[in-house]
C-alpha cells in the first residue's frame, strides 16, 4: 500500500462515492428481493436486469470498466434476453395461480440465516477478518484497464491465464452443442 498519497497526483478524486454506493447497493438489494418474491416470472427477470445493471455501475466505481462492459453485454444483454425468451416460450398462466413457495421454505430461511450469521461472524469478530480490510483504498485511474487485463491474459511473459482462456472457449463450445442438442425436437 502506498501510505503517502492515497490518490496519485494528476488524477481527480472520485465524486460523491458514498452516495452512489449506497444508492446502487439499495437498487441491487431491492432488485434481489423482487427477483425472489415476484409471482410473475417476467417481473423477476426485469428486477434481475435492474440488479445486473446496478452491479455494472458498481464495477465502474471499483475501477473495473472492462468487467462492467462485459457484464452489460453478456449478462444484461445476452443471458437475460435468453431468460426472457424462455419465459415467454414456456410460461403458462397455471404457474402464476399456483403456490409460489415450496413446502420447505422455513428450512430454506433458517439455512440462509445460518449462512448470514456465518458471514457476519467472519466479517466482524475474527481478528483475521478485521485485519483483512484496512481502511483506505487506492484510486488508480482506469485509463489502461483493458490493456492490463489483456496483458494478464495474453502477454508472453506476464500472462498467466492463457490456458484458462482456451478452456473457457472449449467450455462455451460444449455449452453451445449441449444447448442445441437439449432443445431440439428430434435428435
Amino acid at each position: 500500500m502506498n501510505p503517502a498519497g492515497m490518490i496519485p497526483a494528476g488524477t481527480n478524486p472520485p465524486v460523491a462515492t458514498p452516495f452512489f454506493f449506497y444508492l446502487l447497493a439499495a437498487i441491487m438489494v431491492i432488485g434481489g428481493v423482487m427477483v425472489i418474491t415476484r409471482k410473475n416470472a417476467v417481473h423477476s427477470a426485469m428486477a434481475l436486469i435492474t440488479t445486473l445493471l446496478a452491479q455494472a455501475a458498481l464495477y465502474l466505481m471499483l475501477y473495473a470498466p472492462f468487467v462492467a462492459g462485459v457484464q452489460i453485454i453478456l449478462y444484461a444483454g445476452g443471458i437475460m434476453v435468453l431468460f426472457l425468451f424462455v419465459i415467454m416460450l414456456i410460461s403458462i398462466e397455471r404457474a402464476e395461480k399456483e403456490r409460489q413457495f415450496n413446502k420447505q421454505w422455513p428450512v430454506g430461511i433458517v439455512a440462509a440465516a445460518a449462512l448470514g450469521g456465518l458471514f457476519i461472524a467472519v466479517y466482524t469478530t475474527t481478528t483475521k477478518g478485521r485485519a483483512l480490510f484496512p481502511e483506505g483504498r487506492m484510486t488508480y485511474g482506469e485509463t489502461q484497464n483493458t490493456q492490463q487485463i489483456a496483458a494478464l491474459l495474453f502477454d508472453r511473459t506476464a500472462g498467466q491465464y492463457m490456458f484458462a482462456f482456451e478452456i473457457a472457449s472449449l467450455l462455451l463450445l460444449v455449452a453451445i452443442i449441449g444447448a442445441v442438442v437439449m432443445a431440439k425436437k428430434r435428435i
Binding site: 481527480n12 478524486p13 465524486v15 410473475n40 417476467v42 417481473h43 426485469m46 436486469i49 470498466p65 472492462f66 462492467a68 462492459g69 462485459v70 452489460i72 453485454i73 444484461a76 444483454g77 445476452g78 437475460m80 434476453v81 426472457l84 425468451f85 415467454m88 482506469e142 485509463t143 489502461q144 484497464n145 483493458t146 490493456q147 489483456a150 508472453r156 511473459t157
Partner: protein, 431 residues
C-alpha cells in the same frame, strides 16, 4: 461565486473530456447539448425521410403544413402528444409502461461516449466501443418486453422476430468492430485501444482511415458493419418485424400516442448511434479529409470554411425556393416563413465564418456531416430495396455475414502481424 466561475473556467483550458477532467458542470452542459442535438436531429430526420422518399418516388411529400412541409414534424409531435393513451385489456400494465423507457434508455445512454471531437465527448471511457455495443444491445430487452406486455399475437411475433434479428446481427457487428480494434494496435508504440477517441487518434497517427487500411479488408469490414447496422436498427430492407403489410407494425402495434413516439425516437437515435460507430471506426471520426497529407496553412483555412459554405448553400436553396413559390395570396405566410428560415440559415453560415467559432466547430461539423451521409444512406436503402423475408434475413445474418466477419478477423490479424510472423518463422524474432 468566484470559486464557481473558477471551476467553470478551469475546464476550458484542459485537453480532456468533461468526464475525464471530472468537471460536473461542463459534463452536464455537454449532456444537455447532446439531448438537444439529438432531438433536433430526430425531427430533421423525420422531415428529411418523408421528403427524400417522396422525391425518390417522383412525388412531393408533405407540402402543406409549413413551407415545403418544414413544420410537418412539429404537427406530428403535437398530434402524438394529444392522442388517447390506450392500454390493451389484460396487458401487464407495469411492464407495458416500462418497455418504451428501456428502449429510449438504451438508445440515449450510448451517446455518452460518442466523440464529436478530440475533447468533445461527454466522457472518454477506456471501454468506449464495448460500452456502445453493450448498451445498444439492451434495446433488445425493451423490444421483447414490449411485445410480451401487449398481450396480443402480432406484437409478440413481431417482438420475437425483431429481437432474434437484432441479436443475430449484433454478432456480425461485433466481429467487424474487433477487426478494427486489431488495426488500432498497429501504431508505432501502441497497445491498441477500445476508447472511441483513441480509435480516431489511431487513424490520425496511422494516416489512413481504417476503411482504406489493408485494402480490401477495411472495406469489407465496413461493408459488414454497414449491413449489420441497418438490420440492427430494424430498418429497410430488414424491417419485416415492423412492416405494415406483414405484421401491422410489429412490437409497437398496441402502443399509441406518446409511447409510440418514444419508440420512434429510440429508433432514430439508435440509427444515429450506430452511424456514429461506423463513422468513428472506419471513416475517421471528426478528422477532415487529408489531415496529414494536406497540412500546409492554406488547406487548413480552406477546409475550415466548409461549415459556413454548407449553411450558406442551404440558405441559397431556401431563397431559390422562395422565389419559386406560387404568387397566390394564400401562400403569403408560407413564402415569408421560408424566407425567414433562409435568413436564419444564412445568419448561422455567417457566424460560422468567424475564426473563433470556426476552430471550435470544425470537428463537430465533419463528424455530423459524415453521420448525415449515413442517414441519407438509410433513407436511400428504404426507398430502393425490397424487403427481406424473415428466413432470408436470418440466413444473411448467420450464413453470410458471420463467416465473412470471422475470415476478415483472421485475415486482418495475419496481415497486421505479417512482419512479426515472418520474423518468427525465420527464427529471428525476439520478444
Amino acid at each position: 461565486m468566484h470559486a464557481l466561475m473558477q471551476y467553470i473556467q478551469s475546464y476550458l483550458d484542459s485537453d480532456k473530456t468533461p468526464g475525464g477532467a471530472g468537471n460536473i458542470f461542463w459534463a452536464t452542459v455537454y449532456i444537455l447539448l447532446v439531448f438537444a442535438g439529438l432531438s433536433v436531429a430526430v425531427i430533421a430526420m423525420n422531415w428529411l425521410e418523408r421528403k427524400i422518399l417522396a422525391h425518390m418516388q417522383v412525388r412531393l411529400g408533405p407540402m402543406r403544413v409549413g413551407p415545403h412541409g418544414l413544420l410537418q414534424p412539429i404537427a406530428d409531435a403535437i398530434k402524438l402528444l394529444l392522442k388517447e393513451d390506450i392500454i390493451p385489456a389484460e396487458a401487464d400494465a407495469v411492464v407495458f409502461w416500462i418497455a418504451p423507457f428501456i428502449v429510449v434508455l438504451a438508445a440515449f445512454t450510448v451517446f455518452v461516449v460518442v466523440p464529436f471531437g478530440p475533447t468533445h465527448a461527454i466522457t472518454d471511457m477506456n471501454i468506449g466501443i464495448l460500452f456502445m455495443l453493450g448498451v445498444s444491445s439492451l434495446s433488445v430487452l425493451g423490444i421483447v418486453t414490449a411485445g410480451w406486455a401487449s398481450n396480443s399475437h402480432y406484437p409478440l411475433i413481431g417482438a420475437l422476430r425483431s429481437s432474434a434479428q437484432m441479436v443475430s446481427y449484433e454478432v456480425a457487428m461485433g466481429l467487424a468492430v474487433v477487426s478494427v480494434i486489431l488495426m488500432t494496435s498497429l501504431n508505432d508504440q501502441s497497445t491498441g485501444t477500445l476508447s472511441m477517441i483513441g480509435i480516431v487518434q489511431a487513424q490520425l497517427a496511422q494516416q489512413e482511415w481504417f476503411i482504406f487500411k489493408f485494402f480490401p479488408l477495411g472495406l469489407i469490414g465496413f461493408g459488414i458493419f454497414a449491413i449489420a447496422m441497418v438490420a440492427e436498427t430494424n430498418r429497410a430492407p430488414f424491417d419485416l418485424p415492423e412492416a405494415e403489410s406483414e405484421l401491422t407494425a410489429g412490437f409497437h402495434t398496441e402502443y399509441s400516442g406518446f409511447r409510440w413516439s418514444l419508440f420512434f425516437l429510440a429508433e432514430y437515435s439508435a440509427m444515429i448511434a450506430v452511424s456514429s460507430i461506423a463513422v468513428t471506426l472506419w471513416l475517421g471520426g471528426w478528422l477532415r479529409p487529408f489531415p496529414n497529407l494536406l497540412v500546409a496553412p492554406p488547406w487548413d483555412l480552406v477546409f475550415s470554411l466548409f461549415p459556413a459554405i454548407t449553411f450558406l448553400l442551404l440558405a441559397a436553396m431556401c431563397f431559390y425556393n422562395t422565389a419559386r413559390m406560387p404568387k397566390h395570396p394564400l401562400f403569403k405566410v408560407q413564402t415569408i416563413g421560408l424566407a425567414g428560415f433562409g435568413v436564419v440559415l444564412g445568419l448561422i453560415g455567417l457566424i460560422l465564418f468567424l475564426p473563433a467559432v470556426r476552430l471550435r466547430v470544425n470537428d463537430i461539423f465533419w463528424f455530423s456531416a459524415k453521420v448525415a451521409g449515413f442517414m441519407y444512406l438509410y433513407i436511400w436503402y428504404r426507398g430502393t430495396f425490397p424487403r427481406y423475408r424473415f428466413d432470408q434475413l436470418m440466413k444473411v445474418g448467420w450464413k453470410v455475414l458471420l463467416p465473412t466477419g470471422l475470415a476478415l478477423l483472421v485475415l486482418t490479424a495475419f496481415v497486421g502481424m505479417r512482419t512479426e510472423l515472418w520474423a518468427e518463422l525465420q527464427g529471428v524474432w525476439r520478444p
